[in-house]
Amino acid sequence: MIVDIGIVAVKAFLVLFMVLNLAGILGWIERKGSALIQDRIGANRASVFGFAGMGLINTLIADPLKFLTKEDFVPPEGDKFLHTLAPCMTLFTALVTFAVIPFGDVLVLGERVINLQVANLNIGILYVFAIGSLGVYGIVIGAWASNNKFSLMGAVRGSAQMISYEVAMGLSVIGILMVFGTLELQEIARGQGTLIRDMLPESAGFLRSTVGRLPAWGIFLQPLAFLLFFTAAVAETKRIPFDLPEAESELVAGYHVEYSGGKFLMFFAGEFAEIVTAAGLMTTLFFGGWQVPYLMRDGFHFPWGEAVVLPHLAVTALQVGAFTLKVIFFCWLQILLRWSVPRFRYDQVMRLGWKMLLPLALLNVIVTAIVIIALQ
């Protein structure tokens, strides 16, 4: 029993550790990436004893240290308690959403079968959406407690944007849930281990021998849903091109104008943790989660008949490695987006959310339903 609790605690600790560190690394990648794209040398000031070559490691330590040693300013006319609560809520909700995302299949150690996921809940993805919907409070409360016009404007823009895209995000995953018939993310990841061939009827001979050889990943089954989900997820993290809540040329820094020091660090880390969670969701729902194409529990089984047998530990290591790589890829994609596209206007943000994503997501649901019935 103590061992069971220990395993759970280790998994929870690992996930938190990974999310926080990845968030820190992303902060560095963002600055290094901006330097690269703007053709300059960037993020090279953090050095230990004149040794700046390890920029990543140094920045990872120097960044939080710098934030923590700055003055933590609380506006005297604001609400001190809520001003403290807001960044805590943002970081907390961002950290705990990763709980239901599986980072591997099962790990068998002797008698023990460990599910590589912090919590296997039968409501699965709804947990992510429920906790995510609480994220709005962080910015609204923070802005209100700051007693600043810019903050409040940023929060109104931000919360209206977040709730608008929450609808589109929820609708876009319905298709995936219909295909796999479950809310559990571990089941969805397992379901993507089969080939598309197995989902097609016998009569579709040509399709079975061509497209059918692809793994049944969400991206092949629901390409439109992925585009919609990706757009909505970027809008939810309030990053460029959807960074109107903190548009620096209009609102200085939006809802966190009056934040500094440790509390700003919490908003900052929370934003990057949200990026990591969004990447984890994209991976799990649309890119097979921890699946490696054609890798089964006992090794590779290629569709042309060959097979390579691998020991269990190697398979598990490959799967966890694949999941990590995919997550890092989608994090990088979101960072890259920031330096590639200009900011939208607010009316464009609202039009995209309500007049394009929402009807398209509904259409996707209907088409998916008809196709599933036709294939049955």
Partner: protein, 164 residues
């Protein structure tokens, strides 16, 4: 005592406390946040009663959507954060609360409460079970819900678009 029973009492005490805070705090925004906490605690109670689907929808809809609307209205429409005391409403509220307490007391003292209220199985409140009963046994109420939502949409637009 069982761990889940202890957890139940801890959650219940917190729930009663946060509900009292909704009523007694002076700042309206604080009240709204106390209500969010109360709704979240109720969701935990649902989960402990093997109804995780209801619990998560409680958070998604009440704490995540309805309370956001509440906060919107409070924060961005009403600049006076604390409201003045109103004697009449206090009297009305107390009377209503007393009436409710009396009827609850009558109900609870009458019947025999089951010794172990948590008799539902693991799958009782699962998404699948809930979906099955909603989409086979309760089709008509489900369809009527859409009419209700339609009326709500039209009402919202009519109210917001009214010329001053």
């Amino acid at each position: 005592m069982d761990a889940s029973v202890i957890l139940f009492y801890v959650i219940s005490v917190l729930l009663v406390l946060s509900s009292l805070m909704v009523v007694f705090l002076r700042n309206v925004v604080h009240c709204a946040l106390a209500l969010v906490v109360a709704l979240f605690l109720i969701a935990i109670l649902f989960v402990m009663l093997h109804a995780p689907m209801v619990g998560v929808l409680q958070v998604l809809v009440y704490a995540g959507a309805i309370m956001v609307l509440f906060l919107f209205v409070i924060m961005f429409l009403n600049p006076t954060a604390s409201e003045p005391r109103r004697k009449l409403w206090w009297g009305f509220g107390s009377a209503a609360a007393l009436l409710l307490a009396a009827s609850l007391a009558a109900l609870l003292s009458n019947g025999e409460a089951p010794a172990d209220p948590v008799t539902a199985t693991e799958t009782f409140g699962s998404p699948e079970t809930l979906a099955k009963s909603l989409f086979t046994d309760f089709v008509l109420p489900f369809e009527i819900t859409s009419v209700l939502l339609l009326v709500a949409i039209i009402g919202a637009v009519v109210l917001a678009k009214r010329e001053p």
